[in-house]
Symmetry: C2
Subunit: 545 residues, 2 copies
């Protein structure tokens, strides 16, 4: 068995190592266009920012190790330029010498990755305009940021753009971030991104939403970035991080099927339209876990699993890719934002029926010092309570809750299962009723109709515009800010003042986070009022303003 692998990062490296474990006899050739196989892609921003001081650390599996330990024929700086499917060979070009050679294969695995998209604007090719994909890009940027650069413009508010913003701020570089959309972190829903946006601004990142570059020119002051808004920014350098595109040229030229967004089409065994050719990682179009719709999600975890699966299938194993949940996280200035499964906008796009709830718990017991707040959002099926997706933003412990829910999604669990989750509790780590349980309680309460809810983004829509808003917080909380038109009846007074609530009008109770609002809703419902709780309370309402 001779296996040829194109691309030696993440998926390709995983496939190679797995293939070797499964077969000592296989001949395994690993082509890598770049200088380094299996480098730590996700560490690049922190290397540029100086948090990762040793370049060496980013070389997760150096060439020598792959050669010696896994007996792989590793050929870096060598690009596979064509595939001859009929004769089952690839042609590769040594990028140092220009010499081409032909290599036969029994099975071919494509793991070419995705390349940063360079938008077609004037000046995108100027010196001082960068993208970030590999260690050499990172070396160049490290050079720039440590040699006097004072101003930077980052184009694109995705995870990498934001991580770069943090790292440039840590280098004391004045940083402006441009984002064409009306929110940062596009995979998340907008309201969930607000706490991060606020933190970035606090830390000095200048953020322009709904604005992007129209042109880049060289001036005496540096690069002048002219914006859609007509304004401009001056910078010593520009980083383009507006997303990636699958490296699909090789596949297309070989006649392999690709999807509408360019991802190489594969089945659940990671085989392309040619069963002897597999494709894995950022270049493939795979399946969204919940809906089974086609999706392209460039993430390291799925890439590794896909590489492993391809190798296993080659050796006759029966594994199957289960689809991509899109579990992802970003850490910024001590905060984090994470998600798994469907976002609300994805649910809409896929026309999946959903209900949602918000909570704002502390990451561990409130009575123990250092509890940090977080906001969690859960999407679930209104029919059977099946969990569709979750997002979290806050300080510590967001990763844990999203990971627990990621597991629940994989298992096809429901919000009722979250109620019963038995998670570890000591005051430093959680609460006797963990945020995951709380999500279950609230969502189940909605489905059982214990707690009809309304969302902050519905208040200005029918049939809610005539509803009476009752702020059930304390007068002091009410005075410090409330929703326009609300009356204030603290929950503890509600029973005594129930006569102030009309019986013929829809009533929306709200508090700070939704807990007192829930109790108020229960009191109102049992007193024959048409009552709803504002999910996530005033805190969620504020995130939606």
């Amino acid at each position: 068995m001779k296996i040829v692998i194109v691309g030696a990062v993440a998926g390709g490296a995983s496939a190679a190592a797995r293939a070797r474990r499964l077969s000592e006899d296989a001949e395994i050739v690993l082509f890598e266009r770049g200088h380094d196989p299996s480098f730590a892609n996700c560490g690049l921003p922190y290397y540029i920012g100086g948090e990762i001081a040793e370049r060496q650390k980013l070389l997760v599996a150096p060439k020598e190790l792959l050669q010696q330990r896994f007996r792989l024929d590793v050929r870096t700086r060598t690009e596979v330029v064509s595939i001859d499917r009929e004769n089952k060979t690839v042609t590769a070009r040594d990028l140092e010498t220009g010499v081409t050679s032909t290599e036969s294969y029994d099975k071919l695995i494509l793991s070419p990755g995705a390349k940063p998209f360079v938008p077609p604007v004037p000046g995108a090719d100027l010196p001082g305009v960068y993208t970030l994909r590999d260690l050499q890009d990172a070396d160049r940027l490290l050079d720039v940021v440590t040699k006097g650069a004072k101003h930077a413009v980052i184009v694109g508010g995705g995870f990498i753009g934001l991580e770069m913003a943090e790292n440039l701020i840590n280098r004391s570089i004045a940083t402006t971030l441009l984002e064409l959309g009306d929110q940062i972190m596009p995979p998340l829903d907008k309201e969930m991104t607000q706490p991060i946006l606020k933190k970035l601004k606090e830390k000095g990142v200048k953020i322009r939403l709904c604005d992007t570059k129209e042109a880049i020119e060289k001036t005496d002051d540096g690069l002048k970035v002219t914006l859609t808004s007509g304004e401009h920014e001056i910078a010593d350098f520009v980083l383009l991080s507006v997303g990636v595109r699958p490296e699909n040229t090789l596949a297309i030229e070989a006649g392999l099927e690709v999807g509408p967004r360019g991802g190489i089409k594969v089945n659940k065994q990671m085989q392309t339209s040619d069963p002897d050719i597999y494709a894995v990682g950022d270049a493939v179009e795979t399946y969204e876990f919940i809906t089974n719709n086609p999706t392209q999600v460039p993430l390291a975890g799925p890439a590794n699993r896909q590489g492993r699966l391809a190798a296993e299938h080659i050796f006759g194993r029966s594994g199957e890719y289960r689809g991509t949940q899109g579990t992802a996280i970003v850490g910024l200035f001590g905060m984090s934002a994470a998600m798994t499964g469907l976002s609300e906008k994805a649910a809409r796009r896929f026309e999946v029926a959903y209900e949602k709830v918000y909570i704002h718990p502390a990451h561990h017991a409130g009575y123990f010092p250092g509890a940090q707040g977080m906001t969690l959002k859960l999407l679930f099926s209104p029919e059977d309570g099946k969990i569709l997706g979750a997002q979290g933003v806050g300080g510590g412990g967001v990763d844990k809750r999203i990971d627990v829910i990621a597991m629940a999604i994989q298992a096809g669990m429901t919000v009722y299962d979250l109620e019963e989750a038995e998670l570890s509790y000591a005051p430093q780590f959680g609460s006797a009723k963990d945020p995951v349980n709380m999500l279950g309680f609230v969502a189940s309460g909605v489905l059982r109709n214990d707690q009809p809810i309304v969302h902050a983004d519905q208040l200005d829509k029918e049939p809610w515009t005539d509803a009476l808003l009752v702020d059930v917080r304390t007068p002091a909380e009410f005075e410090s800010g409330h929703i326009e038109g609300a009356i204030n009846i603290p929950v503890d007074d509600l029973r005594n003042r129930i006569d102030e609530i009309p019986v013929d009008r829809t009533v929306i109770a709200y508090c700070k986070v939704g807990m007192r609002g829930y109790l108020a809703t229960r009191i109102l419902l049992q007193n024959n009022r048409k009552a709803y709780n504002l999910s996530g309370g005033y805190t969620t309402w504020e995130l939606m303003q």
Copy 2:
């Protein structure tokens, strides 16, 4: 509907709040023998140690709040002394005045908790000998530790004993911990407790295992604790924390069934042998999740869920207690130890067939600064890979992995599902192959026979005593410590030196953590050697010495 609840902490308070949410009309009487309803039990050691500075913070739901917000009839310092099941009344005594009164009920919920066990040794009743159950106990201990106490003896190496040891050390009190058993943290398996034991010793806790008090006497120097070993310890005060016993007197006197270990017997709706009487929390005998065997686990999370379920069943809902997984965690000096599901000793006790694996991953990407090590142990069914239990010990991120696996256990998932888990990865939070995935890879490899394993505690038993141990680490690692009798062939040399490995002898490969040992095992197996990998490598072996 009139509901009487005995005990207002955790389960009782949860039941009361849930009952009120379900019914505004219900009359709900909450008896509490102590001074405070719903206090933060798990915070007491940190209050004594000074980490929680404000006593007020421990009063999670003060009496006034329960009265006002939930309209509960809360009667603290009032002990229910008898139940008249025929007439459905309880007799309660006001502990301040001694006056007794009778209260009728439609439904009665017992949540009396568990009391610290006071071993029958001479001197256990001396002044200066304490137990820790409620805020008043904590107040007394706070007084002692802030007024000149210099030496303490803690009896019992369970979670509370250890948390108290940390907090006394933080108060600069010389602390000796006595534990009758041969390990601390009895719910965990011994080898998993070793890193914590080491840390405690480093921090100055004097620990005596397999030794306990035989007698306590008052001397001029303080309390003299004479030990089983014949030695003695002198201390200013002694804390007894050798476990708890269910508060079952009331239930027994009312003729309710209790289990062999004293827990009040309940069905899955938390009803006792009298269907109008429910029991919840630390006083009940419930079901172990995996085996359905009876168990008594005093934990806050299960208590709260049980209280909630009891209230729901009273109001005609159909919930069912799923059993207790025993998910628990303790944080000590920045480390943590956690578990969920069956321990190895529990699996043996319940005669559940199991296989186990160990791994020693970092809590996040190794290339990012601050990665801390952890040890994870996974128990699973050798037949179908169903996850039976997990334990973890280390620095950061142990809680997350145990919680993820706790969710997997609830879902009845297998080790193959852990392989596919899609968890959040950024370098600060995890790895592209998360420790949870790694557990899945290793365990699946064992079940698929890719990786036959042997355990460190089997090496001195048949049929392993004649096996050839091959240390596949580097010569430098080998020199710094290895298993007696092992030969050293680094994994990278193994293919070239394969002739040094006999074909007719069982070979056990090992490395530091099991990764290189796995590859070595693959190489050996494919070269027709009878090869096994030592699970968890030298690191696990060391934990078992």
